[in-house]
Symmetry: D2
Subunit: 274 residues, 4 copies
């Protein structure tokens, strides 16, 4: 069972919490704490073994925690996830390949695309694919259709796996810290329409990718994971984009794994990774 605590920091907290666990005869097999000093928050992730009902454990812990806390007691049930895509396949194939062979511990309930490119691939794996085009629609109408579709699945997490439409704050605010996006960001970080072209013009020697939660601003939420690869002058913008795809898919899959293992805390606009 995994216990996730996020509360105001106080002296003696670990002693109180571990006292509850010892009293219930639970054995701690993994334990990480972190004190976020800027906000005076105490974060703890504990894995325990033992014969216990989640509700009982939860109640016992709530009795000792400060009033201002969030507490999650997870017994490992699978979370529901929807993936949203456009035309690019590399992130989707990475996630579906891992999922199909049991290496992504999640319930992948649907894929939504604003193009049809990835429908045939997705349906090979008996995963529903919803084609919801944005053409000839206002953003409001398109987002309303997307939300309607999402809501029928009631997902815990939504993964933007190269979904290339900008989503409004009305949309993203429905799933705070539950939407995960992959961004092709560089060193230096280029914004705007064609970052690989800009990276090429500037002659950067490294490109990278960033997986992050989506909050109000699409590209600015808390960073979960980042990786980079070296490039050089001999690559065209198209070759840079191709090289970037492998990084993007691994960074997204790695970030998702961390989220699904309940190892990612959001604290203000950043994450703490246990």
């Amino acid at each position: 069972m995994i216990i996730i605590i996020d509360c105001e920091d106080q002296k003696g907290l670990i002693h109180k919490i571990t006292g509850v666990l010892a009293g219930l005869n639970l054995n701690i097999t993994e334990n990480r704490e972190f004190v976020e000093k800027q906000r005076n928050r105490f974060l703890m992730r504990t894995v325990v073994e033992g014969d216990i009902d989640a509700a009982v454990l939860r109640a016992a812990l709530e009795a000792v925690l400060p009033a201002d806390h969030s507490l999650l007691v997870s017994n490992g049930e699978l979370k529901k996830m929807v993936i949203m895509v456009t035309k690019e396949e590399h992130c989707l194939t990475e996630l579906i390949s891992k999922y199909y062979f049991g290496n992504l511990k999640v319930n992948l309930v649907a894929v939504i695309g604003n193009h049809q490119h990835l429908k045939a691939y997705t349906e090979k794996f008996n995963i529903p694919y919803h084609f919801i085009s944005h053409e000839d629609k206002s953003r409001e109408t398109h987002e309303a259709e997307l939300l309607d579709c999402l809501k029928q699945y009631n997902p815990d997490y939504i993964v933007l796996a190269k979904f290339m439409r900008i989503l409004s704050e009305e949309f993203t605010s429905q799933y705070p810290s539950r939407m995960i996006n992959i961004h092709h960001s560089f060193l230096p970080a280029f914004k705007g329409a064609n970052p690989y072209r800009q990276a090429y013009e500037r002659g950067v020697k490294i490109i990278g990718a960033t997986a992050h939660f989506v909050n109000q601003d699409l590209d600015e939420g808390p960073i979960i994971h980042q990786e980079v690869i070296p490039v050089d002058h001999s690559l065209s913008p198209m070759e840079m984009a191709a090289a970037g795809k492998d990084v993007e898919k691994l960074v997204l899959a790695k970030a998702l794994q961390l989220v699904l293992e309940q190892k990612v805390y959001v604290s203000a606009n950043k994450t703490v990774i246990f």
Copy 2:
């Protein structure tokens, strides 16, 4: 104050230990635990703030720990270190540069070399340099002279910063888990006289370095830190060795930093790094 505990694992240990700290009115600012399941050892590194005498804290903790424990309560006094070298300068200059500007929290009491190459450099920084040649001496005689010199400094740590003589088990067993060596090891790891020549012949695409404690066998103790860099066919063996030097010096300095911050545990033949 830093508390380092290594003991048999038991249910309720964290609760007991944090109870002692809460009772003494100490505030935990950093805390890491790890259970080494193979050997059933509980490892803990805790940083506390508060007004307390180290001896009092030590006694209070010993009262709650299992009989079979090792306990360190450190108030941050500097450790004494001796560096041993041969001819190559890169690891020595890295350590002395950091030390001279206050970025290596240690008391560097002496350098011992079996050649004179690095004497002038070392003495610029007013650090004693002992030239103890191995020429025309048996290994026993040479090691006895080295030990005599070392013992006058009573060092906490000895750093083999490209010391190119093989040391006997009689020598190395005097300082268990207190001698740190830097090894130019590759992927695949080449042994023997000229690893860079072997790496070249085999056409490896990556070379690296390993910092480790020296136990009985010179090149086989617990690994503290490793890093690698990419290489290609265009490098000669000499250029590979040159490229390797930057990795070697950073890996050694990083490993030493971890050791000096009391973040490295030795558990059987491996390390746990907090």
Copy 3:
């Protein structure tokens, strides 16, 4: 058109070769040379644009090259490839995902497995899967069956994508520098049955993978590509193996890309990568 030359080094060679190209009114758009001094070999990879028949160009080049040369003039026709697997899926899904979406410029004609685990996945993509079990057969019989199957496809390249049977020299010598293997090799490189268990016991801080050509000795051919990732004490042997899978698949795919773009030379027991 791509021109690949491997011949004895001589003064004036580049001048002669570029003279042929200029005489045929071809424009050089990419050019790399390397002189392998140990063997006194001149290696050259040139991409030219222009209106020319491959046979004419070939004949013109042969007229100026030293007697002892190998010459390839490629107009980009797709090579035929067979993949061999056992139970692990990660390398196969990486290659098929890239192939299916047109990002692996090859003709993937078949997959051969000594288990059935990957049959259903492979057949989703309309790629023939041949199940050739090794059970209750001598190695000779099993290899004869594998060879029979391979020969009907007449492949240019054979990829061992986690094919976990040791192949005899009689088998591997049929396809010199045309079989590519992925090896889970570490720093230090562990050999034998369970390298991840050994890496765990030794407490390594980095693991990696190596893609190489298979020559007589299965794990010892010329290295094409290598990458590594950091690990730490908190990973179990199983988690290390899982982390290693992402490296393995990327290293194999990258190596294959280099081979298919005709950028890999074999020179004695190593490669030159252009």
Copy 4:
């Protein structure tokens, strides 16, 4: 002898150039070409062996090159370099350590600092240190004093090794593609006064450094080299800055090595690295 050519691209250029070399009985031991298609420039770096006067070789090559060319024939004489610093020591100690032991092939003629912090260290190595304070001076006055000091050394290269004053375009335009700066840039790249504080607030997982030529805009010239290291939430802004120092010094030293080996071309606002 090293030959560096940068000229308009034309058909048959390599043939003409290698014809000159063959006619002078020179042996090519290294050769790299690159065609920068955006600007239609042909770049070539060739190392030749043989008995030849640089002026003769130069004249022979000029006879076959297009009118619009730049040509450098270098026989390996050492370049003159001045380093400019403020208070931070890590880049200076890296460069001086390498220089002192003969691993930086340059003539380090002086260090200029706007503070006195690094004077004692520099003078240990018998390198002149000029303290030119900016206090109580206008930028114009300060820059005029710096230029006066620089000009007495007539340097080929000026290295800004954590020189923390912004230099005017009047100053930097005196040494186009000859001033090299190290910039602590991140992913995403933070600008402004305290990038490590910004990186901390944003919770980045990677930090890095960029070495580049200084053109008009101090932080925007052609990038020579970049590297990164992983970081996490547990580092304070000060610890991030400390971790960044090792990257900064290596990136600067590596970039300088490439420049001194004549392997760096500037083409528009980017570099081609051979």
